[in-house]
């Protein structure tokens, strides 16, 4: 039984119109999910801040490191302003470059806001497909970058400083964890609500007024070029990830293939233009291109794969 059945009843009672009904139902559902899941993730994170993750990672060997780094990436939020401190903090504490990249890929790609939206709008199967493919892309990209021996493409000053990775952060009490989680949840909600509303709103209009399969002839299963195109369009859209996902969920209904949709969402979250600009401070453009190239190729592969599987 669907736990959101009462919300559905409420939406039916308030609005018989398809678009409006869709809007009310999705908005309430998404905001409930956002509050609950971000809160839970924040509590987990209060036990595992990046500083602690780093201490764990600096003692791991290569492959285990890549896997653990990608898993930790799920609970760590990632805004492009944190890219530099995370990168420097990891590398200077002795975390291998490949492991650091696994983390840098997984952290923005598998974030709690994207997860909620996937879960709420696409269902748990697609959410799971997204998480697992995202983890695999992060792990493999990190392993490849580690193998490439690209240490010379990192700005020299990065390696001139080393730090002790075992930081003692102030211990948090139970109450502080709850307060932290509450503050953080409110902060994120405040940041994303306009995008989510606009995304769901436009999605609802598409849902109600665009004929089904309207987009199939442009971006259906048989249109291979839709995947790379989706990845390219996704690169500059990072800051609006919260609004983009509801929008593409409606587009999927109108005939955009599922693999293409997955590739698009991954590109929106994992490949971010502002992050690349910021990373230029610590690495050569060549390394950023390698990084974007490998991740982009992984995303496209995922897109093609699921266009084949999820017919």
């Amino acid at each position: 039984m669907d736990i959101f059945y009462p919300v559905k009843l409420l939406a039916d009672w308030l609005a018989p119109n398809a678009a409006l009904n869709f809007f009310i139902y999705d908005t309430i559902k998404i905001f409930i999910l956002l509050s609950v899941i971000i809160f839970i993730v924040s509590i987990i994170r209060s036990f595992l801040p990046p500083e602690k993750i780093r201490a764990i990672l600096s003692h791991k060997n290569k492959y285990t490191g890549n896997i653990i780094a990608s898993l930790f990436g799920i609970i760590t939020p990632f805004c492009s302003c944190s890219a530099i401190p995370l990168f420097l903090g990891f590398v200077q504490a002795g975390v291998p470059l490949g492991t650091t990249f696994s983390f840098l890929v997984a952290s923005p790609m598998i974030n709690e806001v994207a997860l909620v939206l996937l879960l709420g709008l696409f269902g748990w199967k697609i959410a799971l497909v997204y998480i697992v493919s995202g983890l695999i892309i992060a792990i493999i990209s990190g392993i490849i970058i580690g193998k490439l021996k690209v240490e010379n493409l990192v700005e020299p000053f990065v390696y001139q400083n080393t730090i002790n990775g075992n930081t003692d952060l102030p211990k948090m009490s139970q109450k502080e964890r709850l307060t932290y989680a509450k503050d953080y949840t409110l902060d994120i909600l405040k940041k994303v609500w306009p995008y989510v509303l606009i995304g769901i709103g436009v999605g609802a209009l598409i849902h109600g007024y665009v004929p089904a399969d309207f987009l199939a002839k442009y971006a259906g299963n048989d249109k291979w070029h839709a995947v790379p195109l989706a990845v390219l369009i996704g690169i500059p859209l990072y800051s609006n990830a919260a609004g983009v996902i509801p929008l593409v969920s409606a587009l999927t209904e109108k005939g955009v293939a599922m693999g293409t949709t997955l590739a698009f969402m991954m590109s929106v979250t994992a490949l971010s233009l502002p992050e690349f600009m910021i990373l230029k401070k610590v690495m050569k453009i060549k390394l950023i291109l390698i990084f974007a190239g490998i991740v982009g190729a992984g995303i496209m592969f995922t897109g093609f794969l699921f266009n084949l599987i999820l017919k």
Binding site: P49, I84, P170, D183, K281
Partner: protein, 85 residues
């Protein structure tokens, strides 16, 4: 009986939330009538040396007390008043 706060620093990479924390902290200091100056530091290396990896950071006397998000002004005030005793 009170140890005065000697320095208050907001550390950030220049992102909007870092500036917001800086503004809020300045206001909190003013409302609490503290004498300490609030300093904005955007030297990433300094942040890393503190052992912190998330911005923005609020540090009192060189010790990070808040990392990774912008709280409301009441929280900043309580951190600043806690730092005194």
């Amino acid at each position: 009986m009170e140890n005065k706060i000697k320095s208050i620093q907001v550390l950030g990479s220049g992102c909007p939330s870092c500036h917001k924390l800086f503004e809020l902290t300045k206001q909190a200091v003013k409302e609490l009538n503290l004498e300490a100056e609030v300093e904005y530091v955007d030297d990433i290396q300094k942040i890393i040396s503190m052992g912190v990896m998330q911005v923005p950071v609020l540090a009192i006397d060189g010790k990070p007390v808040l990392t990774g998000f912008v709280p409301d002004i009441e929280k900043i005030k309580s951190l600043l008043s806690k730092g005194k005793c």
